[in-house]
């Protein structure tokens, strides 16, 4: 009888908790299905701007993100901004490449759009470089937002 009470509530009574109670196996943190889906949604949002929100039926945000990134990339290439490549010589080139790559599929589109090459000897080309990098960073932010929303966090 004493053993039964001890099993039911180890913290009550005068008897100390015994080690005979079954110990649950340690829980190993695993990515649940929802987490995996959130990761896929974030990835989709990066690859095609706005897709992460569209998959969650956040249409306003999806359209806005797509339009914003598209317009910034179009202007960046139209103003002959620099589109960085992976074989950059220094840290700034690498950072620029990461920022540009943030536009997802638009990065490869931009490289094909800019037929005449960059011209950063004028202010317009410099602005174009910034517009392109901003589009990438903004899309990364949007993809992270879609990922958090898919995980169920307030968004």
């Amino acid at each position: 009888m004493t053993e039964q009470i001890s099993d039911a509530d180890p913290g009550s009574g005068s008897l100390p908790a015994t080690s005979s109670a079954p110990v649950p196996p340690p829980q190993v943190p695993r990515a649940s299905g929802r987490e995996r889906m959130a990761l896929l949604i974030g990835l989709a949002g990066w690859l095609i701007p706005g897709l992460g929100h569209a998959l969650q039926k956040m249409w306003g945000r999806a359209i806005t993100i797509f339009a914003t990134v598209a317009v910034l990339v179009a202007l960046g290439t139209g103003m002959r901004g620099n589109i960085f490549v992976s074989s950059g010589g220094d840290a700034f080139d690498t950072l620029g490449y990461i920022a540009d790559l943030g536009t997802g599929c638009f990065y490869f589109l931009a490289r094909n759009l800019e037929k005449t090459g960059p011209d950063v000897s004028h202010a317009n080309g410099d602005y174009g470089t910034r517009f392109m990098a901003t589009a990438g960073v903004l899309n990364l932010l949007a993809a992270l937002h879609a990922f958090e929303a898919a995980r169920g966090h307030k968004a």
Partner: protein
């Protein structure tokens, strides 16, 4: 604004355009309700312009 060598924006046009488009994106991302979004967009747009003009004036003595 656009010719064969690309799109040309003045400094002011670039500032206005950048401030507007980023404010709209931030407004849509960070707020759910339309009145909140509009308020956020206007507030963010004004702050972009304020900071932009502030930095421009701060740099004015060194520009020549």
């Amino acid at each position: 604004m656009s010719d064969s060598s690309g799109i040309h924006l003045s400094h002011l046009q670039a500032l206005l355009f950048f401030a507007l488009i980023i404010s709209v994106a931030f407004g849509f991302l960070s707020r759910r309700r339309w009145p909140d979004r509009i308020k956020y967009i206007l507030w963010s747009f004004m702050l972009f312009l304020l900071v932009g003009f502030g930095i421009a004036w701060a740099m004015y003595p060194f520009s020549r």
